[in-house]
């Protein structure tokens, strides 16, 4: 499955547009991570626990989006975008969306 955030796939022609596909995940960080982040906040720097959480969420959202595209019979997703929203204190949603298409090599 080709997955790009441009409108076209280089070297390929889009033959069919199958509509928007999307995947999301809402995740919370656990208390231990919060405490670790609070301590890290004294000296500043990267909060690795949160970065990891974000990476996992992004992967999961992308996987769900690709699964949906596959179900539609697409072989590529173009114009992929990520967006986030904080639904409640301590939890965040990561949302991935794109357009499922069928492409053929030119």
């Amino acid at each position: 499955m080709i997955c790009v955030n441009t409108e076209t796939v280089p070297g390929h022609a889009i033959t069919q547009n199958l509509g928007i596909v999307q995947g999301n995940t809402v995740r919370a960080k656990h208390v231990g991570r919060d405490i670790a982040a609070g301590l890290k906040n004294i000296v500043g720097g990267e909060l690795k626990g949160y970065t990891e959480l974000l990476t996992q969420s992004r992967r999961q959202a992308t996987e769900r989006m690709l699964a949906q595209a596959e179900q539609l019979g697409a072989n590529a997703v173009v114009n992929v975008r990520f967006s986030t929203s904080s639904i409640t204190q301590g939890a965040a949603e990561l949302y991935a969306y794109g357009t499922a298409v069928v492409v053929e090599p030119e």
Partner: protein, 169 residues
């Protein structure tokens, strides 16, 4: 001295201790981070990175490359920023935090592209994720910023990687 005064003094001492830890350790960590970022940017100058949407049709192997980072400011800077907010104006401490986060996310995008054997990244987008303190409206929360950079990595046959350039002289 009564117990209350002693308690106050201990409390003050702890706060001062945290402030100084933040001041020194934070400064060292930040300088190291900026130095690493500069080194990386120097090293990856060969990689064609842009936020232009168009990809040349000769491009091969297009795929998403993503980089994340969550980074927090130190306690001393948070303290200074809180004071600064009383009089308003530019909050330099947060400015550097945001810049560092963006540069780090871009760095990870380039690293991921290089790891996959690609030599260019187009259509780079930078977004902010709501994690931790930022956007949650919590004054006492951890002041942190989460950045998510994504782009389309591809192999441009006309652009040589530096190791290939070295080999050819």
């Amino acid at each position: 001295m009564d117990a209350d005064t002693i308690g106050d003094i201990i409390g003050l001492a702890i706060t001062a201790g945290i402030l100084f830890t933040g001041l020194f350790a934070g400064r060292i960590l930040e300088r190291r981070h900026v130095r690493l970022l500069r080194e990386h940017e120097e090293q990856f100058r060969w990689m064609h990175t842009s936020n232009v949407r168009a990809i040349p049709s000769r491009a091969k192997d297009p795929q998403m490359v993503v980089g994340h980072v969550v980074i927090s400011t130190d306690y001393f800077k948070t303290f200074i920023a809180r004071l600064k907010k009383l009089i308003g104006g530019e909050l330099g401490t947060y400015q550097t935090l945001l810049m560092r986060a963006r540069r780090e996310a871009l760095k990870r995008v380039q690293e991921e592209a290089a790891e996959r054997g690609l030599n260019s990244v187009a259509n780079v987008r930078i977004e902010y994720a709501a994690v931790g303190g930022m956007g949650s409206g919590n004054q006492k929360g951890v002041i942190s910023v989460a950045v998510l950079a994504s782009g389309t990595g591809y192999q441009d046959p006309e652009l040589a990687r530096p190791d290939q350039q070295l080999a050819s002289g």
